[in-house]
């Protein structure tokens, strides 16, 4: 109970500062509409969605709501504040620091990382070059996602992942989208990197391949999220290539990466597994059976190369630990349901 309480307090504190991180990238009129809202709402905002000519939407964990032109919130479309072309132009300029030309790679990926590790997804018209997206133009939609850092999110799983010899098991975090996979991964990286004296666990050097800047939320290459003291982050690097680079260059004890699924990712992963470096990865899926059906990943699971599967869900809120499965016996280790 005590842990839960402090966890909630942390979330609240973190969000208030999080919204303050995001306010500077909003035009002054929208900024003042948001700051006019009661704190209790501000701190719960997860997404701010702007679509040119359409109502401004605020996303909360339990649904979305329009922002009123006169301030306040509404569910009625005709009372909602409509995002003007000027608003959109300003937002894009503020998000990009008036430097769209410097963010071509980010535009290709469809998002820009903001100071504080928050992300702004962007839509518009794609400009193609030889069948590949070169950049986006006529930017007309933007979704600012306020990222959460839940310190202690991984505390409940970490004991299942320690091998007792000062190391950790090869771990896969499995969950459907939006169930706190990345949040869990980030905290796991932090705890593995810093060490947990209460568990007699000393920190290990961790290398993180952060292809989509989601884990460490790097801004100009510097992690904006707490990913631990022994952590090296390769920001914006393709996973397969990045894992090999880390392996060769940084001699990590653990390599972490988000959303392993493609054939080349799995091939690189095999290389890492063979090099004796532990891995912490995440994969989309609801259950073990779903993972086993994945062509590339399923194969190495069947080879019993991965040792622990942590299944996350949202049966008791986002980030609920549903089960921990042993990769060798494929049996549940048994999670105490609390």
């Amino acid at each position: 109970m005590g842990l839960l309480h402090s966890y909630h307090q942390y979330v609240v504190q973190n969000r208030v500062s999080a919204i303050n991180d995001v306010l500077p990238v909003l035009p002054a009129n929208i900024r003042s509409m948001l700051t006019a809202l009661p704190y209790s709402f501000q701190e719960k905002i997860e997404e701010i969605r702007l679509r040119q000519g359409r109502p401004l939407l605020l996303g909360f964990s339990n649904g979305d709501v329009f922002l009123c032109a006169e301030g306040g919130l509404t569910h009625l479309i005709n009372e909602a504040y409509q995002v003007t072309p000027l608003d959109m132009e300003r937002v894009i300029q503020l998000i990009s620091n008036s430097s769209l030309y410097a963010l071509e790679e980010e535009l290709r990926n469809g998002f820009i990382t903001l100071p504080g590790g928050h992300r702004a997804g962007i839509t518009g018209k794609a400009v193609l070059d030889g069948g590949k997206v070169r950049t986006l133009k006529y930017l007309s939609g933007c979704n600012i996602r306020i990222s959460r850092e839940v310190s202690g999110a991984a505390s409940i799983v970490l004991p299942y992942l320690l091998d007792g010899n000062g190391g950790i098991f090869h771990t896969v975090l499995v969950s459907p989208p939006c169930c706190g996979k990345t949040t869990m991964l980030r905290d796991l990286i932090r705890q593995v990197s810093n060490g947990v004296p209460e568990l007699g666990f000393h920190g290990l050097t961790v290398g993180v391949v952060d292809e989509r800047s989601e884990i460490a939320g790097c801004y100009k290459g510097i992690p904006q999220r707490d990913v631990g003291v022994r952590t090296d982050v390769l920001d914006g690097c393709p996973k397969a290539e990045g894992m090999m680079m880390l392996l060769r260059a940084m001699s990590p004890r653990v390599i972490a990466a988000d959303e392993i699924g493609r054939q080349e990712d799995v091939e690189a992963l095999e290389e890492v597994l063979n090099a004796g470096v532990k891995v912490i990865i995440t994969a989309h899926g609801k259950s073990m059976n779903e993972l086993l059906d994945r062509p590339a990943l399923g194969r190495i699971i069947k080879l019993k190369m991965l040792e622990r599967f942590v299944i996350l869900g949202r049966s008791r809120g986002v980030g609920t630990l549903e089960d921990v499965i042993d990769g060798i016996s494929m049996q549940s280790i048994g999670v105490r349901k609390c």
């Binding site: 900024r31 132009e89 300029q93 503020l94 008036s98 430097s99 769209l100 030309y101 535009l107 133009k137």
Partner: protein, 172 residues
Amino acid sequence: MLKMIGAMLVVTASGFCGLSVAGNYQRRPRELRSLRAALQMLETEISYGATFLPEALRQVAGRCDQATAVLFSEAAAELSRMSGVTAAEAWDKALRKYYPRTALKPGDLAVLQNFGASLGISDRQDQIKHLHLAMEQIDNEAVIADDESARNVKLWRYLGFIGGLLVVLLIY
């Protein structure tokens, strides 16, 4: 005696007026060249360095001529304040501060304003196109300004004093 002093004053005043006009004719080509060099530096920052605009502007301000630096450092400061302004607005604000202190003409201001409108809102190639356009226009203006300077500097230098003398003679 009083008349003499009055006459001296009229001649010196109009003489200095003439000198200042001549000075403006002399300054404008220099300022245009300095602006062009600064824009060239900005191009390097944008095309090779992919530096973020506020930092790029600051870099340019640090390296260019002091009078021109005001424009870039003001715009950089305005952008870094994150007060919700676009690059074009910050540039315009800086221009309002910079322009009155220079010998530039309204046409030069229009070139700079047009350039500011496109600042930071497009991809690299497009930014470079706009920079090239602005530099070309400034080059043209500089050629004209050189020509005007050659014709007018001497004229105004003498015209001030001669005009003053004329006034004195008429009143005397």
